[in-house]
């Protein structure tokens, strides 16, 4: 594994600890997709908005081009899985039938609002299911690298990119720390192994309670 992959897996493994069955979990594209590897609870069921409850890993030789997740990556189906159409799938999401959504983001504000679909100055070209998941999932967990490629904090006082929802996420997990969002404020609840609070402070623009 590359350093980057190790970091992503560290974050995904920590996110997996938040999941306990029975629960219905929707995993976004990127780091969230890795979370299922670390789940060994048969009562955690994965939902993908393109129309499947019961997403499972798939072996290379069993790949079916017509069985994919929301990132269009090949997946398998678990025992007891079901397929449904896009309107039904988003009815589940908006209707409050998804317990946890785990999402990647571009930015988080210190009020817990996120931006993960558009960058100012670029064409607004894609939103997918992000806004639906934000308004519909009972709990939203963000998994993200703490800083961008330039080393600049992605946890900001305020999102500078267009927000995805006025709903605050519930938890933020990075390679440095875990935050809860309580009454629109960030609260650091855990440092990742070997990370100091000084390092988190230095790499976080947002104010947070500790």
């Amino acid at each position: 594994m590359s350093d980057k992959e190790q970091m992503q897996n560290l974050i995904a493994r920590r996110a997996a600890k938040e999941l306990a069955g029975p629960s219905i979990v929707n995993l976004g594209i990127g780091i969230p997709t890795l979370v299922s590897k670390y789940i060994d609870d048969e009562n955690v069921f994965f939902h993908t908005e393109n129309g499947l409850l019961g997403v499972a890993d798939v072996e290379e030789d069993k790949i079916d081009p017509n069985l994919v997740n929301a990132g269009k990556l090949p997946v398998g189906e678990s025992i007891g899985a079901s397929f449904f159409n896009s309107a039904e799938s988003f009815a589940m999401i908006r209707g409050g039938h998804i317990d946890v959504a785990i999402l990647g983001v571009l930015q988080v504000g210190q009020n817990g609002e996120i931006a993960n679909w558009a960058v100012p100055g670029k064409n607004i070209m894609g939103v997918g299911g992000a806004m639906d998941l934000l308004v519909g999932a009972k709990k939203v967990i963000v998994t993200m690298t703490h800083t961008n490629k330039e080393g600049i904090s992605k946890i900001l006082r305020e999102c500078t990119y267009p927000i995805t929802s006025t709903r605050s996420v519930d938890m933020i997990i990075t390679e440095l720390a875990v935050f809860e969002v309580v009454e629109k404020q960030l609260k650091l609840i855990e440092l990742m192994p070997g990370v100091s609070i000084e390092e988190v402070r230095a790499k976080t623009e947002a104010d947070f309670i500790y």
């Binding site: 993908t48 908005e49 393109n50 129309g51 499947l52 790949i63 079916d64 081009p65 017509n66 069985l67 994919v68 269009k72 189906e77 397929f83 449904f84 159409n85 896009s86 309107a87 799938s89 988003f90 009815a91 999401i93 908006r94 558009a118 064409n123 607004i124 070209m125 894609g126 939103v127 997918g128 299911g129 992000a130 806004m131 639906d132 308004v135 519909g136 267009p162 927000i163 995805t164 929802s165 006025t166």
Partner: protein
């Protein structure tokens, strides 16, 4: 009476200049690749295409885009085809971006005789700008109007000759919804069977939604789209 077309030109004769088309699929998965291929060979222009995305560059609906047959696209994720951005920059295409759930729900409303509806999705974001807000039981929603099309081009797994449809795994996606929301619905399928072969409780799209059926000749495989006889 048969709804089964033998050639693609006949199946697509319902598509006219300036039409609004719904095209099924999530990327290439569940997309009516045979019908899209037929459109690339048909002399038609000024189309509005309602589809989750516009394929990839040079694939699926992406070809239609390159041919400048699409004047407007309504979808949720155009990012998968970078050529869409280039067209948009040059003013060669109009885009209407909707959250994926809103896209699906608006089509469902269009097919169900619902004029419009209130959704929480996108409230307070740039995608809600200019849209009417309404509070219902203390929650803020925005109004979204129903969407319909002149023609829906969809893909299913099996059709009986009456037009009853079942779908394969995640190739289902938008197809059953689009089948309800267009004046004319043409489906391509992997297999055509006799009435009675699809059990009544398992039919996903009842035949009253379907106007034309054609056997698929373009198939999505692990290695990409191939021709199938």
């Amino acid at each position: 009476m048969t709804k089964v077309h033998q050639d693609i030109e006949a199946a697509l004769s319902c598509v006219k200049n300036g039409h609004t088309l719904m095209v099924g699929g999530f990327g290439l998965i569940g997309a009516p690749l045979t019908l899209i291929d037929g459109l690339t060979k048909k002399d038609v222009a000024g189309l509005t295409v309602i589809s989750n995305n516009l394929g990839e560059k040079g694939k699926g609906l992406g070809i239609l885009l390159s041919q400048k047959k699409i004047k407007k696209a309504i979808g949720s994720y155009f990012t998968s085809n970078r050529e869409v951005g280039e067209f948009y920059q040059r003013g060669d295409i109009d885009l209407e971006l909707l959250p994926q759930g809103t896209l699906a729900e608006s089509m469902r409303a269009g097919g169900a005789g619902i004029g419009g509806y209130y959704t929480k999705t996108s409230v307070g974001t740039d995608l809600a700008k200019g849209k009417e807000e309404r509070e219902i039981n203390g929650v803020t929603y925005i109004f979204e109007p129903a969407i319909r099309a002149n023609v829906a081009l969809i893909r299913a797994w099996k059709a009986d000759t009456l037009g009853n449809l079942v779908y394969y795994k995640t190739a289902r996606n938008f197809n059953p919804v689009m089948a309800t929301a267009a004046d004319v619905v043409i489906v391509e399928v992997d297999e055509i069977v006799e009435p009675g072969e699809l059990p009544p409780e398992e039919i996903v799209t009842p035949h009253l939604f379907v106007d034309g059926i054609i056997k698929a000749t373009k198939i999505l495989t692990k290695e990409g789209v191939i021709d199938y006889e």
